[in-house]
């Protein structure tokens, strides 16, 4: 029995010894990414290759990872947070989880693309849009909606898709709260549900769903359809921008910040600088077909330039009021 006990003890100690192996390399970063692996890992791999810095990425939900960092507090293993929405970044900034960024990072982007306190910076821009399946819409003889509010019209019953756990969608709801007020936004969510809105787990699935005809239209970001066009330029899917000033035509960002608790702030800032460099920005412009946030990077010719889209009058930092949005979405029944 003593042998058994000794064996068990050695075994457990062995397990403990396994733990710090990853942490011993000083040139290594932990990145929490709310953007999915398919979109972000290629450029991270390029950073690893060029700098020799190891980056371990924990992928998850943008809001979920932000909340996790707040929960982790001083013990957070993360060095960098990358989210696909200004709201989650703002919430982290408000919680005091982010460290101020140096000017050489902040000044790479125009003031609209960074937090007023210099706590986070945008990496790419994206427009909220309605994607739709033109042949199906024509078949049904339905017009495109003039406003995001029109999607609750009974003529669109069972035709509209949304991704209720997606951060960009959640930001859109925050924008609705700011523009329409709490009661009207909650009513909109409930009317959408009553109108048999089809939930998808994320934007990729939603766009595939519209392409396949599971839904006729869906609320999403602008760039997913270009990934579909890359495989089939004639794919039956198209973008619809809501008219000027409509809460449906929000411009949002994907962005990043360095954690206040990071023990590698210099290395973390290096990653951010890299992601704001011309090669990385060109990657976002070409590969994910987003809006670059620095000057001198060509926009994909299929994209409407940002200055021709008239978003509603909302500052990105206004979106930081994320918690009430998350509660409202849950309480509306959208997640059930």
């Amino acid at each position: 029995m003593r042998k058994l006990f000794a064996f068990g003890l050695v075994f457990l100690l062995g397990l403990m010894a396994l733990a710090p192996v990853g942490a011993q390399n000083t040139e290594s970063l932990v990145l929490y990414s709310g953007r999915n692996e398919e979109l972000i890992q290629p450029i991270i791999d390029r950073f690893i290759e060029e700098t020799g810095v190891q980056v371990d990425v924990r992928y998850g939900n943008t809001a979920g990872l932000a909340n996790q960092i707040i929960e982790e507090g001083a013990n957070s293993p993360a060095d960098v947070y990358l989210g696909q929405d200004a709201g989650a970044l703002g919430a982290l900034a408000q919680a005091g989880a982010l460290a101020p960024l140096p000017d050489d990072i902040l000044e790479r982007v125009s003031p609209v693309f960074r937090s007023p306190d210099g706590l986070w910076v945008a990496l790419s821009g994206r427009a909220r849009v309605l994607v739709y399946n033109p042949p199906l819409l024509e078949e049904l003889g339905l017009p495109l909606p003039d406003s995001i509010a029109d999607l609750t019209d009974p003529m669109y019953r069972g035709l509209v898709a949304w991704p209720p756990t997606n951060a960009s969608f959640q930001s859109q709801v925050t924008a609705l709260r700011l523009l329409l007020g709490e009661d009207e936004t909650l009513a909109w969510l409930q009317d959408m549900i009553a109108n048999d809105v089809i939930p998808f787990s994320n934007n990729t699935a939603l766009n595939q769903g519209v392409l396949a005809g599971e839904a006729v239209m869906g609320l999403t970001n602008h760039y997913y359809i270009f990934r579909i066009y890359n495989e089939d330029p004639d794919a039956p899917i198209a973008l619809h921008f809501f008219p000027a000033g409509d809460p449906g035509s929000l411009i949002n960002i994907a962005g990043a910040g360095v954690l206040a608790t990071s023990d590698q702030p210099g290395l973390a800032q290096r990653l951010l600088l890299y992601l704001l460099g011309t090669p990385a920005q060109q990657y976002f412009a070409d590969m994910t077909v987003e809006y670059p946030v620095i000057d001198g990077v060509a926009l994909d010719e299929r994209l409407t330039p940002l200055d021709q889209i008239e978003p509603p009058d909302i500052d990105l930092s206004d979106l930081a009021d994320l918690e009430p949005t998350l509660d409202m979405i849950e309480d509306s029944g959208a997640l059930d």
Binding site: M1, R58, N75, S201, I329, D336
Partner: protein, 541 residues
């Protein structure tokens, strides 16, 4: 899983007067108790922390708990549990009867095929179902119509989980059919009972313990399944907890929901214990065991084979064919990196570590369970079985909160992931090891003592070698289940650590289904290997 049943049924069969002496002998092993107490306390802490977390929310938590929405989730989960348990019986009992009492052609082949859905991860089966019968799925694309009701929501979840769980009912019921003394039925027939009357009055009561046990396992599995209800968007508890965890800045919400789920599972366990209390079926006399006569199916053997083929088709063939299709023709331009070799090494490594740990940890507890009868040790052993009542998503949640606040050094490291698996799957090794130990006649150990071995030497040189195969079966079962585990793995794994199952999950999440083909097939192949290990000593094989 069979061990849970055998342990409970055979524990009482050990002669009491031998027990007295053995107990005295084991009382001289304080190590055993110290180790066991340590293990149980370590297991309890994260769960206690989850309770604290929920209770700490005070009025907010109570308000959240009392929303009508919570009641909806309870109802969704209970509906699914009731429907799956019932359909698992409807499929499992005839399946058991056909493969034990009837002259079904290729009986053994059907038996093995019927069990194989257990090696297919439920989320893989769900992905295959979506691919084939989902909106604009393969079937519709090929034939222009879809024969299935809409698979999202209740229907698809019910279908897949039934296919995954009916062996839990079929296997113990089949064993009961085989072990039944045919003279009882013959006597009833001789006394003038008709076929159905004999079945209901004589055969069925003898099946009842096996049925109750199988239905309990089915119900527990249904409550804990994560992948199916996530993929098919059925708002059962596991889904609601995970979504709340990912989409709320109020962590108490997920904790409150998790506690309700734990109450539900504990309720089920108590219900089963209450129902099967005091029911024992005895054979009369010790005559040589006789196999019940085979029923000639006649022309009914064709529909009978069709009946057996349906679960095999949906639970095994459909997923494998869909995976093969993707493996041969990935047809995705995806940036996702799938390094099959590394993923396989990670998966086998972490599952092996978890399985061996579970085997080692179960040992002192199992010895206590079998050889010590004090109230305290019984309480400890019962506590170690609590993994049965803790779905993976609850264990993930408990260890995340616990790790963040109490053990930040271990948070997101291998040990805490292994601890999660241990908490979840310890009941498997505990049951099989206890089962193996009960089958060792204590007088053998006594003889070893009499010949001069010290108590720990007895364990090391006599008890362990004799219990070895039973222990190994439990270890293999933990290995099999760890490989397929998803929610706790997703929440607890070290950053950057991927297994076959997490990679399958990621690929399906971004719609790169073509990438699932090879990892899915490897996962099923390795699962088959470990199932073979389990079956090698399984008396039903």
């Amino acid at each position: 899983m069979e061990g849970i049943l055998t342990a409970r049924q055979t524990a009482g069969q050990i002669a009491q007067r031998q027990m007295g002496r053995i107990q005295r002998q084991y009382r001289r092993l304080p190590f055993l108790r110290i180790i066991s107490i340590t293990i149980v306390v370590l297991l309890l802490i994260p769960v206690a922390y989850l309770v604290l977390r929920a209770v700490d929310s005070g009025q907010d938590g109570i308000d959240y708990l009392l929303r009508p929405r919570t009641l909806n989730i309870v109802q969704n989960s209970l509906n699914l549990v009731a429907a799956v348990s019932l359909s698992a019986v409807v499929v499992g009992v005839p399946f058991a009867w056909l493969t034990s009492r009837a002259n079904l052609p290729l009986r053994r082949v059907w038996l093995v095929l019927g069990m194989l859905p257990m090696v297919v991860p439920s989320y893989v089966a769900a992905i295959a179902l979506i691919r084939m019968f989902g909106p604009s799925g393969l079937f519709e694309a090929t034939f222009g119509f879809n024969p299935m009701p809409p698979i999202y929501g209740f229907f698809g979840s019910w279908l897949i989980i039934t296919l995954m769980t009916f062996p839990y009912v079929a296997l113990p019921v089949r064993a009961a059919f085989m072990n039944m003394d045919p003279s009882l039925e013959e006597a009833a027939r001789g006394l003038g009972g008709g076929r159905w009357r004999v079945f209901w009055r004589v055969t069925f009561p003898q099946l009842r313990p096996a049925l109750a046990g199988g239905m309990l396992l089915t119900a527990l599995y249904t409550l804990s399944d994560f992948g199916v209800v996530m993929l098919l968007r059925y708002n059962a508890f596991t889904r609601a907890i995970y979504i709340s965890y990912e989409n709320s800045f109020n962590p108490y919400r997920a904790a409150v929901l998790a506690l309700v789920l734990v109450f539900l599972t504990v309720g089920l366990l108590l219900l089963e214990r209450y129902i099967s209390r005091g029911r024992r079926n005895y054979k009369v006399g010790t005559g040589a065991a006789r196999r019940p006569p085979m029923v000639d199916l006649g022309v009914w053997r064709w529909p009978a084979m069709l009946f057996c083929a349906v679960p095999v088709a949906f639970g095994l063939i459909l997923p494998v064919v869909v995976l093969l299709g993707w493996a041969l023709n990935p047809n995705v331009t995806s940036a996702l990196n799938v390094n099959l070799g590394a993923l396989t090494v990670n998966t086998v490594g972490v599952s092996g570590l978890a399985a061996v740990t579970a085997g080692v940890v179960a040992l002192p507890l199992a010895i206590l369970a079998v050889r010590s009868r004090t109230g305290f040790s019984r309480w400890m052993v019962n506590t170690a079985y609590m993994g049965n009542a803790l779905p993976g998503v609850v264990i993930g949640l408990a260890l995340v909160y616990f790790g963040i606040r109490v053990l930040p050094g271990l948070y997101q490291t291998m040990p805490i992931l292994i601890a999660g698996y241990l908490l979840r799957f310890l009941p498997f090794t505990l049951a099989s090891t206890s089962g193996a130990l009960t089958q060792i006649n204590p007088s053998i150990e006594e003889a070893a003592r009499g010949l001069g071995l010290r108590p720990h030497q007895v364990i090391w040189r006599v008890t362990l070698p004799m219990a070895w195969t039973g222990i190994l079966a439990g270890v293999a079962l933990v290995f099999l289940n760890t490989m397929k585990e998803l929610p706790a793995t997703l929440m607890l794994r070290p950053t950057g650590f991927d297994t076959l199952s997490t990679r399958i999950w990621t690929a399906s999440d971004v719609g790169s289904y073509g990438l699932i083909g090879l990892p899915g097939l490897v996962l099923i192949a390795v699962s088959c290997l470990s199932l073979t290990l389990i079956l090698a000593r399984d008396r039903w094989a």
